[in-house]
């Protein structure tokens, strides 16, 4: 629980990796990039699932279930639309 320094450490390193990787993304693909990162940041699904599925009072589980629904919507629509857009990019 007092491990917050290592959490911040992970955050800083992940941000640097993110900056390095994103900087190289093709400019053609900025729109699909945004829908892909959208889907990836719907990793909030993990937190939502833990709140919705654990043995908590109903009111809290309702909050978790709505959050789970919202994250899942982003995952499904994010990956599908990214794929749909990427299929359109043809060289010739």
């Amino acid at each position: 629980m007092n491990d917050y320094w290592s959490m911040l450490f992970v955050f800083v390193l992940a941000t640097f990796i993110g900056l390095g990787v994103i900087r190289r993304v093709s400019r053609l693909l900025y729109t699909p990039l945004m829908s892909l990162t959208n889907a990836i940041s719907a990793i909030a699904v993990v937190g939502s699932l833990a709140v919705a599925g654990a043995d908590h009072p109903t009111s809290i589980r309702i909050l978790g279930a709505v959050a789970l629904f919202a994250s899942m919507t982003n995952i499904v629509s994010g990956f599908l639309i990214t794929y749909r857009m990427l299929r359109m990019f043809k060289k010739q």
Partner: protein, 468 residues
Amino acid sequence: MTQAIAQFAAIAATALFIFALNWMSDPKTARRGVYAGVLGMAVAVLATWVQPEIVHHGWVLAAIAAGFVVGVPLSRVPLTAVPQRTALSHAFGGLAAGLVGAAEFSLWLREGPGQFTTFRTSALVVEVILGFLTFTGSLMAAGKLQEVRWIPQRPVTYPGQNFVNLGVLGAAVVLGVLLVLHPTAPSARTVFPVIMGLATLFGVLLIIPIGGADMPTVISILNAYAGLSAVAMGFVLDNRLLVTAGALDGSSGLILSIIMCRAMNRSFTNVLFGAFGTVQKTKVIAEQKEWKQESIEGAAQLLEQARLVVIIPGYGMAVAQAQHKVRELYDQLTKRGVEVRFAIHPVAGRMPGHMNVLLAEANIPYSALVEMEEINPEMPQCDVALVIGANDVVNPAARTVEGSPIYGMPIIDADKAKTVLAIKRSKNPGFAGIDNALYVQDNTWMLFGDAKAVIGDLVKQFSSGGLH
């Protein structure tokens, strides 16, 4: 055992997400990126689901099923509606973070004061503020992009607006600090919902003064916020995977915001707090010249005789859904040996990369799409620059008229082409309300009308054999 599964899954998912983004560096490998992302997400979800504390499987299944029911149709929207879909998904991301934050707060209240460490409480405050402001801010942005009737499209400004906005955000932050200092005070139960409310309100206020031309930047900023709210959730839940994936999303939003700001020669603060609408009363171009209108036949002839044609698309092409007709024109011209290239300004359209996706949808090969910096040195050799529904991104005032709201913004040098053909819906000035000297240049010819109709007529000229 299940703990080890969760930890291993977190590492695997993080690696897969990094690969996913890495493969986006080239359209050839990009689809692989989606597979990696899906796999990473599946691993993460399953590893969480098998944990022993998850007992209400019916709830989980129902929420996931509902996500599919809404998510699948949302992925099938027409590509012109992709900006609002993106804004909507930022809203969902913010909502999820905000709601989980609220749930955690109530749980901690039950479990006792030991839960409220300074670090976790601070992270919780950041999570709910970012989450709820992203939620309403993105909803407003999506509404503006979708042109929902009761949300004003034009920037709405009033005196003291920045004061009000910063006051609301400031109040939320001050209450947040109080909550961190005294998490177990009886007032915490009331302070927390107030923070949520203020963040929700701030999201709305933040987007009210923002107009269409700023949308690419604003969507990118909201993207970064959605990522950061996931990071904060990771801190709250002590979950590294949330931190890494959120950081990847946050850095992507940050880079896109910087690129968009640079492409408009504006700063972050200027976009968020200096509404475009307020500065535009100034500057009328000294001499009011007349437009010269060109006939479809004349324009078709100009195009046919050209060696190099550069097409400059803007939001007008998206609005008119003209991309498929543009493809037909591209085919007709290349068939006749004319070299056709598309010059893409970074902020053309309503979100980063908007024009590229629309042109790709119309099957235009991406090798014909050229960035602004690459095409500009070639513009003097360009025989015809065909401007389709673009305005500010080709306005020479950005180079010459000091005091113009777009002064200093990098533009596509359409005015340096030998001839300019500009398709424009009406004779009104563009979004920013600024006169465009390009349209009255000696070598510019206007084609007034809906982009789709005008280009359709041009194509007809070519295919009907009127030209050969």
